[in-house]
Subunit: 214 residues, 2 copies
């Protein structure tokens, strides 16, 4: 089998989830930058992925799309370390956090949409998409109170939920200047994750296509 | 164990996915309407679900949120009939379609967002959210061409992908007047699904809280 190929972009939140999963599972892969600038490039890319979206993972003869589906696949085929808890209820909970971020928070952080809105009414994109209204749910993801001492989003093991957290915190703070200090659990978990080498290696600025620092 | 309770609303696309899963797996449940009209109701509901979102399924002592996480739980704990294909690649593909609908199509069909946009610039919501741009991907979900003769979205078995299809077709056609005839595969699969009793029982108009026809 040839080496897996990840079609990614350094700024892509959805790609970052997959990068973290590949790193944690120690799967070596080629990183292909997708930077669609011309009609021709777009057509070529669209042939691989009619949704014209990254990430795409080519692996074991398959072309996989949608970050969370890719992560579930990796977890089934490369089970070590597991990215889902053993208990069915906790698994549901970890997936709920991942899906909530992927379908409720991230789409509203999407630059293309915000840009379209701002084009029409300057400043309106950020106003409509109000990053703040979804964050309180993450503050206590299914926890009775702030003082439950789980190390990660669900329990004391890294799960699919944690793979989704860094990029939305990055988007909220770096792109939209949201103050996340009122959410101490998010801050705490995000700090814990930011100290893990596999999460560090997956950070936007460390990708091959990120702008070089001078 | 007491009977499961589904917090739902007849118009909710995300709830309809769970209703279909419960029907296919023949799980008897109580239907609780969520119609948040007052501050007090909202506070009460928010205590159960800080995301203030439906569906919620109370089952086996758990409070589950996020439709796709709920469906994965049901499929693990009540495996008959399975809602995921046996092959890992096909499972990834079925999940990709489900996630694509849940995170790319449905959020942009959300009434609250469209309403906010229209408030500012009449008619602009529908324009920005342009239902059409995402539909072509569904036309051929991972298929080489239109003539691949699968009965459902992935293969010849109902999967999690199919549970997501009827509500977005309903939203696109009924709410936004999108002509879906250019997408014959979507039309064909949607028609097949619409003739299955469990899908029929889950249709918006058949829910206890739907307006009565006179």
């Amino acid at each position: 089998m040839s080496k897996p190929i990840l079609y990614s972009a350094w700024t892509s939140s959805c790609s970052s989830r997959v990068r973290i999963a590949l790193a944690l599972k120690k799967i070596d892969y080629e990183y292909h930058t997708v930077d669609i600038k011309t009609e021709e490039e777009m057509r070529e890319f669209a042939m691989t992925n009619p949704a014209k979206k990254i990430p795409i993972l080519k692996i074991n003869g398959l072309v996989l799309t949608e970050s969370l589906a890719i992560i579930e696949y990796l977890d089934e085929v490369y089970p070590d370390p597991p990215l889902l808890p053993k208990d069915a209820g906790e698994r549901a909970h970890a997936r709920a956090i991942a899906f909530h971020i992927a379908s409720n928070i991230q789409p509203l952080q999407n630059k293309a949409i915000i840009h379209k809105l701002n084009e029409k009414v300057p400043g309106y994109g950020a106003e409509v998409m109000d990053q703040r209204r979804h964050l309180p749910w993450l503050r206590s993801p299914g926890r009775a109170s702030e003082d439950v001492l789980w190390e990660y989003c669900v329990g004391d093991q890294i799960t699919i939920a944690d793979l989704n957290l860094p990029s939305i915190v990055y988007n909220a703070t770096d792109k939209y200047n949201v103050d996340i200090t009122p959410y101490p659990l998010i801050c705490k978990i995000n700090k814990t994750l930011s100290e893990i080498p596999e999460f560090q290696a997956s950070e936007p600025a460390r990708q091959p296509d990120a702008p070089k620092k001078i």
